[in-house]
């Protein structure tokens, strides 16, 4: 715990590991995300099309995976507290028909100031890291 001259104790400390949360990705959710985000690229919905362009199968929108990691960040201090959020899409999330793919998101506190905390985010499907260099800055109230 960090004390700033009598200010409220922060619930975040540098090096602290934040508990993982598991999110589900499936074909139905990808269609919902395509509609909500206006990203109707068929590689995220149509298996035949995805395979025709050299993909193993339908893949999740990178931004859907990032949005689920964003839910993890929002769960810390609320969506309104998120100041920065970044990620690199290092591996596609392959989504077979009639299957739920699990995305496991966890966090580690990198920096704490009086007003903000910087969190490193990890996102894995099975043992494959799907987001790289993922970080968020959240405001502390």
């Amino acid at each position: 715990m960090v004390n700033f001259g009598g200010a409220r104790m922060s619930r975040y400390a540098v090096g602290q590991e934040l508990a993982p949360t598991t999110y589900v990705i499936n074909r139905a959710l990808l269609i919902g995300y395509a509609n909500a985000s206006s990203d109707q690229n068929p590689i995220h919905q149509d298996e035949a099309f995805a395979k025709s362009v050299g993909l193993e199968n339908v893949i999740a929108h990178g931004m859907f995976t990032m949005a689920l990691a964003g839910r993890y960040v929002s769960a810390l201090q609320g969506s309104a507290a998120v100041r920065e959020f970044s990620a690199r899409f290092v591996k596609p999330v392959v989504v077979p028909a009639d299957a739920d793919v699990e995305l496991i998101v966890s966090g580690k506190v990198l920096e704490v100031t009086e007003r903000t905390a910087k969190i490193e985010i990890s996102a894995y499907c099975k043992d494959v890291k799907v987001l790289g260099m993922a970080k968020a800055v959240i405001a502390l109230s």
Partner: protein
């Protein structure tokens, strides 16, 4: 190939995107976010990526081969229903690495004179 003349240029958006509670609720529902009061941190991708797609297609880029390389958001204040966001897009760089075209776009979202959020997208056109 992208027309190299557009690198470094800023394209102001012509039309404001009206943020409605319905669109925030729809986005939250799609990602399973239980709190609908403000837009989730990645909500603005639905505005900025649509703008980038139109701009880059017009400038010669093959959108059908585009994959998303990385994404960053800076959010100056939460986006809420009632915001009318104008997206201006700047093509910050375009280069070719191992046959893949890599384009970086910065998108600034203004509500009136107020800069509400900025985002950066790296888009990769697979060879």
């Amino acid at each position: 190939m992208l027309n190299p003349d557009i690198v470094g240029r800023t394209f102001p958006g012509a039309v404001a995107f009206a943020v409605t509670q319905e669109s925030i609720t729809e986005f939250c529902t799609a990602i399973g976010e239980p709190n609908f009061e403000v837009a989730p941190p990645t909500y603005t991708i639905k505005i900025t990526l649509t703008e980038s797609e139109a701009l880059l297609k017009e400038s010669g880029l093959d959108w059908s081969r585009v994959v998303h390389g990385d994404q960053k958001f800076e959010i100056h204040r939460p986006i809420v229903a009632g915001d009318a966001l104008i997206c201006s897009s700047t093509i910050e760089s375009a280069r070719v690495v191992a046959g893949n075209e890599i384009v970086s776009v910065r998108s600034d979202l203004h509500n009136g004179d107020e800069l509400v959020a900025s985002s950066w997208s790296t888009l990769v056109v697979r060879a």
